[in-house]
Amino acid sequence: MDYSSTNYELACNECGKRFGNRPLSACPDCLAPLEIVYDLLSAKGVFTRDSIARGPASIWRYARLLPVPEGFQPDLPVGFTPLIHASRLGARIGASSLYVKNDAVCFPTLSFKDRVVAVALANAQKFGFDTVGCSSTGNLANAVAAQSARLGLKACILVPADLEPAKILNTLVYGARLIRIDGNYDHVNRLCIQIADEYNWGFVNVNLRPYYAEGSKTVGYEIAEQLGWRLPDNVVVPMAGGSLIRKIRKAFQELIFLGLVKKPVRPVRFFGAQASGCSPISTAVKDGAEDIIPQRPNTIARSLAIGNPADGPAAAKMILQDGGWAEDVSDVEIVSGIQELAETEGIFTETAGGVTTAVTARLFADGRIAPGETTVICITGNGLKTTDALAGSYNHIDARAIRPRLADFDAYLRSLDGAPEPELIAAGER
């Protein structure tokens, strides 16, 4: 089950002990989480702008700084999603240099989880697991189901019973075994920890977590490369477990260390976005608290509904030390955020993206981010998976069907636009 790599290995955050590479996420001695550490010095001169440019248009162009085993042959073109200049959204919220990192179109399952799963499953295969699994709020379930199908691995996926129907369907279609748990995500996650303890399965976010989490760094590499090898002033990131925001920062630090980007005069500031109905990390940031007080989630942003986030304390600390902030928004604002991003930039995001968009608007409104600063907002999932969040939002739209006649069309448009119309005037309505 072990393998060795000259480029990276597991290390304990607390005691520093090294463990090679194996399916393990906590130090057997001090119980602290394990992380992947790299021989960054040996990547100098090897991991360069040129070498990256010669790579495929996917996360695998950054493989040298990902924990993927030697000889691993990348299969799926995951990631390398568009970074678009969001001038129309920017104009609406008072931001002149706003960019959207659009993982709503990440391949193959339309969320940033494709990135982490790709890296985790490369290791699951190397470790010899024939069954993989995860606890999930939906997007991860989709990604594990699809990619394990492609690799010929069996998948067993545990989700909270109240998950959005689209996310359940988008898991079942790949032939994965899906088990709905009568509880919230934190209950599901706890059960998965117990299962991973008893079954010889590779759970991407339990015993493969150190590998899995590294996949998030590719969001940071891509942002820097797509900005022309420079770092933004600010990044706004949705927070569930609190891992992504920290991995983007890690990616930026690695790029600075390797000389691929200039070290900014002021450190990049990170802004975390949560739903008010599940805001343990933003609450800790606002209180300046060292620790996270767990919450019982109650929000339509189910993909962010983790009441006891694994990386929460570290995320909160990191946000504050670089001068960032965290905000949370109500369910009503989340829906408005989804609509605002769609109406201005043509990007349909899921509820988590509504959170991020609405939080970004508030950060600019509150003056926490200055209008001219280059700011990237991370959109991590696709709106087609959470259409139920918009149910009822368009009931006011006139849904009458009209006859296929030009005169009817003319009359219909006039009625919608409120222009005087002979029939209505005659009827005394206008």
């Binding site: 955050n13 607390e14 996420s25 906590a26 057997p28 001695d29 001090c30 119980l31 602290a32 989480p33 992380e35 992947i36 509880g183 934190d186 209950h187 996650n189 706890r190 920890i193 117990q194 303890d197 008893e198 339990v206 977590r209 989490a213 590294e214 998030s216 760094k217 891992s243 920290r246 991995k247 890690k250 630090q253 060292e290 620790d291 996270i292 007080i293 767990p294 019982r296 006891n308 694994a310 990386d311 929460g312 304390p313 570290a314 600390k317």
Partner: protein
């Protein structure tokens, strides 16, 4: 009164391989004191230098996080199943850690 205690495999090297056992402890501090006697090596592993339960260990009563039930003040009920998990929660990480 009796409660059932279930430990993860990572802890069993300090408990002679036992994953489950019964206890008559009235609350969490009493259970930890019991560990001091019965499994001193486990006690050392799960307590920090100040003798407090390490930050990254979660304690559950049946399906509920003990922090939602009053933490140390929660009085164990007959038949409660107490589980401990080292992975749910993480300490502050190193500067350059992911």
């Amino acid at each position: 009164m009796s409660i059932k205690v279930v430990l993860p495999t990572a802890f069993t090297r300090h408990t002679d391989g036992r994953k489950q056992f019964d206890s008559a402890a009235q609350n969490l501090p009493a259970l930890l004191s019991e560990f001091d006697q019965t499994f001193p090596a486990l006690s050392t592993q799960i307590r920090d230098e100040n003798g407090k339960l390490r930050k990254f260990i979660n304690i559950y009563i049946n399906d509920e996080d003990i922090r939602f039930l009053g933490g140390d003040a929660y009085a164990f009920q007959d038949g409660d199943e107490i589980t401990a998990h080292p992975l749910d929660r993480r300490r502050q990480l190193l500067e350059f850690a992911p």
